[in-house]
Amino acid sequence: MKFVYRIFEKVRPTFEEGGKLSLIHPLYEAIENFFFAPAAVSIGAPYGRDPLDVKRYMTAVIIGLLPCVLAAFYFYGLRFLPMIIVSYGAGFVVELLFAIVRKEKIAEGFLVTGLIFPLVLPPTIPLWMLAVGVMFGVCIGKELFGGTGRNIFNPAIVGRVFLALAYPSQMSGEVWVKPGHGILGRVLDYVTIKTPTGPDEGVMATVVKFFSVNADGVRSFFTVEHIEAITSATPLGLAKKGEFIDVMRLAIGEVTGSIGETSGLMVLCGGIFLLITRVANWRTVVSILLSAFIMAFALHQSNPEKFASPTWHMFAGGLLFGAFFMATDPVSSPNTNGGKYVYGILIGAVAMLIRNFGAYTEGVMFSILLGNIFAPVIDEIFFSIRIRRLKNEE
């Protein structure tokens, strides 16, 4: 890899102070440090350091998301690829602009936001809307507070709530595509809700006349394979009407919903990986799921006709995805271990209340946002308890 390093050495002066492109030094630095670990050495004790850095930490989350991403391609086809690209691109632009203005380094947090964001959206969302959402989330939800590590809200949730409130018709209703099934699923399809678009009819006529070929054959050859989506209500939407889908179908992913939350089992696979690597804190996850389970169980016992069973609630909608990937964001969740329990209980309970009694069909998103708001307050309480206890230590 010497030659790659030589290229960096060669172009470095251009980006350093006084160089032609010194303005985008953060971008250069991010790329250089992406390829080559920085040369910094410890100035004092401890002399060795743990190999984990923020890059790897964020990469672990991305690895945890991989089962969901693969499932997304299987269920909803190739359209997910441009979604990821747009999400990363738009988020990165905002991140870069702020880094240039602040003269700071580009932090790795957006690597996770950029991948989580398309996973929490309906599969038919227009790409420009996705870009607006991720830019809003990164800008308002994170950068205005000072960037990764200083934000109080999970940027992906801020972006999603923004979209849900600003464009309700594209975020709910007839936007939920039935996931693919069979061996290949929709891996080779490009799903939209538009009707198929073929080549221009005028051009078609000329081509047919000129080559004297079968018009249908040409049309089918040139038509981009736009599969018209078959939309249907989400399990949570059906539940409002008192119709509960079988839990096994929810777990495997035979139902409609946001891209990442379709298959509960896939979310579990990635989520458990995060717990094992300690990147997600188990206290948050366990307390969210447990409080939601207990709440749902109590409601179900009171009226089994109206309220779904607790296991149904576990796998329906975005509860698992939210609990494992969004609520566990260490920055926006409380720091103290005790606080994490309280935060989890709050999120689980509020999510169940919104689902069962609210006007919205899904409450996980709002409950996590609410948890984010309360996290600093919860922390303050636990800090003061801890500090009071420390007071008499020798």
Partner: protein, 482 residues
């Protein structure tokens, strides 16, 4: 005792149990400064020939702790700055402490029989092994401690282990303990042993079975549970109840040397090890042994960093001067970081041990890693992962204190008890954002101390001013009256 936090790292180059006697050097370089001591009061002249055991210098700020001459030779004061250099060394003529009877009688009359023992310990170099468990400073030899903590465990990778110090010396160890007991009235001696089943530990237990005044404490073998401050705190000892003397296995042996043999304690066993060491072992040498000779002998040719002490809590050996100081417990060679690794954060990492199991090494059985002094990542804002709190043995919240200090909220940091930090270095070691937490904390502790000192001085000055003003007033009054 309930411990929290702690974490074991396992670098390459663990010293074996053997002790190698180092050959006599051409010259000894005795540093006048070490972490605790500053031997500013010289007792010898340039060119003077001295005997082993003579006092070369004293530290007037630390109860006149002497810098003992390790060998017979000629003193040179000017040769290296900050050092006393001893040349023409020979082993002969090491003096047994012989104060004349008159002096002994005089001292005994002045401070009593216990005081004489303490006097002997100070002047024969055993006292420098003692430290106050809470502050880490040298305790007052004439003070009465509320307890003595003797630790036979050392867990910092790598400083010399207790069992290496005590090998073949167990009877001397118990005799040393007895001597310590005679200095006390009814205060307890806590003996800290590792909570593992080993021949050595059971032997020690057998030896001290009859001693009711020794209570054995078992600590899990997890860094830094051997820390004296931590143990004192976990024992529930209070600073206000008097000093707690802390010492390690070698300290007890030194007490025995000083009080039974009445010989100066000049031999020391230190470890050499670490990823950059060619051969990790323990060395028997004297204070002032030239570090260059050790580096030449035990260091691989690669660029390495030499550390005085262990990897996690040591300091740069070069800061200590050219010779081994009296407080050195080990020399660690850590690889100097030179290469910039290509896509390091993407590698599977079977060879890199990680606290958070984010690398493939998590599926391996424990192994030793070849650490370099690289920071291994870029510095970032805290992401609140909470690992620092998990590993902190003191039970404080490093991330919170960091945030306070980042915002210059010194008072809040003080109320979050930054002073409880024992400088084990684990938080800095673990931090994925590569924040120099333990350095920040030690700076903050110094700053708080300094502010307190200034406040105290200001209050004193104020009191003095008020007293003077009153005296002036009174005198004016007197004049008026007369």
């Amino acid at each position: 005792m309930k411990f929290t936090g702690g974490y074991n790292i396992l670098p390459d180059g663990k010293p074996d149990g053997r002790v190698t006697v180092m050959p006599e050097p051409e010259a000894l370089f005795l540093p006048l400064k070490s972490a605790r001591f500053h031997f500013s009061e010289l007792c010898v002249k340039d060119g003077e020939s001295v005997n082993g055991g003579d006092t070369l210098a004293k530290d007037p700020d630390n109860f006149d702790v002497p810098l003992l001459c390790p060998r017979t030779g000629t003193v040179s004061l000017e040769e290296v700055e900050g050092h006393i250099v001893l040349r023409d060394i020979s082993c002969k003529g090491e003096s047994v402490w012989e104060a004349d009877d008159e002096e002994v009688a005089h001292i005994e009359q002045k401070v009593g029989a216990g005081g004489l023992k303490r006097f002997k310990m100070v002047s024969l170099g055993a006292w420098e092994y003692f430290s106050d468990a809470f502050s880490g400073d040298l305790p007052d030899p004439l003070s009465v401690p509320q307890a003595i903590i003797v630790s036979a465990v050392s867990l910092d990778p790598f400083v010399v282990r207790g069992d290496v110090q005590l090998k073949n010396n167990l009877s001397r160890f118990t005799r040393g303990l007895e001597h310590l007991q005679t200095l006390l009235k009814y205060q307890p001696i806590y003996l800290v042993l590792p909570a593992v089943k080993s021949d050595f530990a059971s032997k020690v237990r057998d030896m001290i079975r009859g001693y009711a005044w020794v209570s054995v404490i078992e600590v899990p073998v997890k860094y830094p549970y051997d820390n004296l401050t931590l143990i004192a705190r976990k024992l529930g000892l209070k600073r206000s109840d008097g000093p707690v003397w802390g010492l390690r296995a070698e300290g007890v042996l030194a007490v025995d040397t000083a009080l039974t043999l009445t010989k100066p304690c000049i031999e020391r066993i230190i470890s050499v090890g670490g990823p950059g060491a060619s051969h990790a072992t323990n060395l028997k040498l004297t204070v002032g042994y030239p570090t260059e000779a050790i580096i030449k002998e035990y260091c691989k040719d690669k660029p390495v960093v030499t550390i005085n002490g262990g990897m996690l809590a040591g300091s740069d050996l070069a800061d200590g001067g050219r010779g081994v100081t009296s407080e050195c417990r080990g020399i660690t060679f850590c690889m100097e970081h030179v290469d910039r690794e290509f896509l390091g954060w993407l590698r599977p990492g079977f060879d890199r041990k990680c606290y958070a199991s984010c690398f493939m090494s998590a599926i391996r059985i424990p192994f030793s890693e070849s650490y370099s002094n690289a920071v291994r990542g870029e510095d970032r804002p805290c992401v609140s992962c909470g690992f620092c709190e998990d590993v902190c043995p003191s039970g404080i919240m490093p991330y919170l204190i960091h945030k306070y200090l980042y915002a210059d909220l010194i008072e809040e940091a003080a109320s979050a008890r930054v002073d409880l930090c024992i400088q084990c270095g684990l938080c800095s070691f673990i931090c994925p954002s590569k924040i120099e937490l333990s350095k920040e904390f030690s700076d903050a502790i110094d700053l708080i101390e300094q502010e307190k000192e200034e406040e105290r001085k200001a209050a004193e000055a104020e009191a003095k001013r008020v007293a003077e003003a009153e005296a002036k007033k009174a005198s004016e009054f007197e004049i008026m009256e007369s």
